[in-house]
C-alpha cells in the first residue's frame, strides 16, 4: 500500500532540504548580528557601516575632520570622467550595467548562474571592458579604484542586497566556501579573519581597535592614509593576509570573491557609504 504519509514526507523533505540550505545563511547572518549586538549594545545596524569609527571616538573625530574635505575627491572626479568616457568602439560603461551603472553597487557581488561564478563590481567593470575590446584593468590599484569610487558614490545610502538564489546549490556552496575561509585559521600567526574581527572585535591589537566584520564591505574603495592612494576591499584582504603572515590570495581570485560574497551577505541591510577614508 502506498502510504500517503510517505509521499507527503518525501515532498516535504525535498522542500525543507533546500529551505534548510537557504536557512543556513540567514541563520549565520542573524547569529553574527546577535553576537555583535551583545558586545556593542549601543550600535544600530547602520552604524556598522562606519567600522571601527563606530566604536573608537578619538579615531572617529579624526576621520570626520578628514571627511570634511576628503582626499578621495580627486579620485572621485576622475572616476566620473573615466566612467563617462566612451570606449574606442563608442560604447560606454553605462551600456553594460543595469540602470546605466548608477546606484547599483548594493547588488554586487552576485552569483551568475550561467557563468557559475561570483560577479563582483570590479570584475563586472573588466567584463565590460573586455566586451568592448578595451584591455582589462589591474584589480589591486590604479584606474579601477577611480571608477569604483564613482560607482560607490552614486550608490551611497543604498542597502546591501546580496542574493543567494534559493535553488542554486552552487551559489550556496560559494557562500559556504567564503564562510569557511573567514573562519579558517591560516599562516604563521595561525589567525583566521574571525580570530580578530569576531573573537576580538572591539579589543586592542597593539595600539589599534579591531573592527567587527559586520560592515566590512560597505565603505570601499577607500583612500588609505598610509599609502596616500585609493585601495580596494580585495587589496585590503591581501594586506591583511600579509600582516598575519599567511599566503596571499590575489585580488578577485575565487577565494577572495567568495569571502566578499560571505561578508556582503551577512551585511545585508547595511547602507553603502563608499568611497571613504581609512587609516
Amino acid at each position: 500500500m502506498k502510504s500517503p504519509f510517505l509521499i507527503v514526507f518525501l515532498f516535504i523533505s525535498s522542500l525543507t532540504s533546500s529551505a534548510l540550505a537557504w536557512a543556513e545563511q540567514e541563520q549565520d547572518r542573524k547569529q553574527i548580528l546577535t553576537f555583535y549586538q551583545q558586545i556593542f549594545p549601543e550600535l544600530q545596524l547602520a552604524d556598522y557601516a562606519h567600522g571601527v569609527y563606530a566604536i573608537d571616538a578619538d579615531a572617529k573625530n579624526s576621520w570626520q575632520a578628514i571627511e570634511e574635505f576628503p582626499p578621495y575627491e580627486f579620485a572621485l572626479e576622475e572616476g566620473k570622467e573615466l566612467f563617462n568616457h566612451p570606449f574606442n568602439n563608442g560604447a560606454r560603461y553605462a551600456d553594460c550595467f543595469p540602470n546605466k551603472g548608477i546606484a547599483i553597487a548594493q547588488n554586487y557581488p552576485y552569483w551568475d548562474e550561467q557563468k557559475q561564478t561570483i560577479i563582483t563590481l570590479a570584475s563586472a567593470i573588466n567584463d565590460c571592458r573586455l566586451q568592448n575590446q578595451a584591455p582589462a584593468l589591474a584589480y589591486a590599484k590604479g584606474e579601477i579604484t577611480k571608477i569604483l569610487a564613482y560607482m560607490a558614490f552614486t550608490s551611497r545610502g543604498q542597502l546591501i542586497n546580496t542574493i543567494i538564489p534559493e535553488h542554486s546549490q552552487q551559489a550556496f556552496n560559494a557562500y559556504k566556501q567564503g564562510k569557511n575561509y573567514f573562519y579558517q585559521r591560516r599562516g604563521q600567526l595561525n589567525f583566521s579573519c574571525a580570530s580578530c574581527h569576531v573573537d576580538n572585535a572591539g579589543k586592542f591589537i597593539r595600539s589599534e581597535i579591531l573592527s567587527p566584520a559586520l560592515g566590512h564591505t560597505t565603505h570601499w574603495p577607500a583612500y588609505r592614509l598610509n599609502t596616500g592612494e585609493m585601495g580596494t576591499l580585495h587589496r585590503r584582504f591581501m594586506a591583511c593576509n600579509k600582516l598575519i603572515r599567511a599566503p596571499i590570495d590575489m585580488a578577485q581570485s575565487p577565494a577572495l570573491r567568495q569571502l566578499e560574497f560571505f561578508l556582503s551577505y551577512i551585511a545585508n541591510g547595511l547602507p553603502l557609504n563608499g568611497p571613504s577614508t581609512r587609516k
Binding site: I66, F69, P70, P71, E73, F74, E77, E78, E81, G228
Partner: protein, 103 residues
C-alpha cells in the same frame, strides 16, 4: 580639472573657506619600492589665499604638510559673489591657481 578644490560656506559671523590640493608633498626621503631609488623631494613651498584680490594669508610650508594638502580659513565678513583664490608654488617651480565665487 585643477589641482585645487575650494569650498565655501557662509555663516552668521564668518565665511568658512576650505581647500584641498592634489600634490604628492614628497619628502625626498622615501624610496621607490620597485627601483630602490629615492623619490625626489616634490612639495609645495608657498601658498597664497586671496579675497577679492586682497591677500589674506601667505603661507610657507615644508614637506611636513600631508600629501594632498588641506587648509581652512575663516573670513570675518564676506558676501555672496565675492571671489576667493588659492595659489601655490612648489620646489620644482610648478604652480597652480584657482578662483572660487562664494555662493
Amino acid at each position: 580639472m585643477s589641482t585645487i578644490k575650494i569650498r565655501s560656506k557662509r555663516f552668521a559671523d564668518y565665511t568658512l573657506v576650505r581647500t584641498l590640493i592634489a600634490h604628492p608633498m614628497e619628502t625626498g626621503h622615501n624610496k621607490n619600492d620597485a627601483t630602490d631609488e629615492l623619490i625626489p623631494a616634490h612639495f609645495i613651498q608657498t601658498l597664497t589665499f586671496k579675497h577679492n584680490g586682497k591677500v589674506l594669508s601667505q603661507c610657507q610650508m615644508g614637506y611636513g604638510v600631508s600629501k594632498n594638502p588641506f587648509f581652512s580659513f575663516k573670513i570675518k565678513s564676506a558676501k555672496a559673489g565675492d571671489k576667493v583664490s588659492i595659489s601655490w608654488q612648489d620646489n620644482l617651480a610648478y604652480s597652480d591657481t584657482l578662483e572660487h565665487i562664494i555662493p
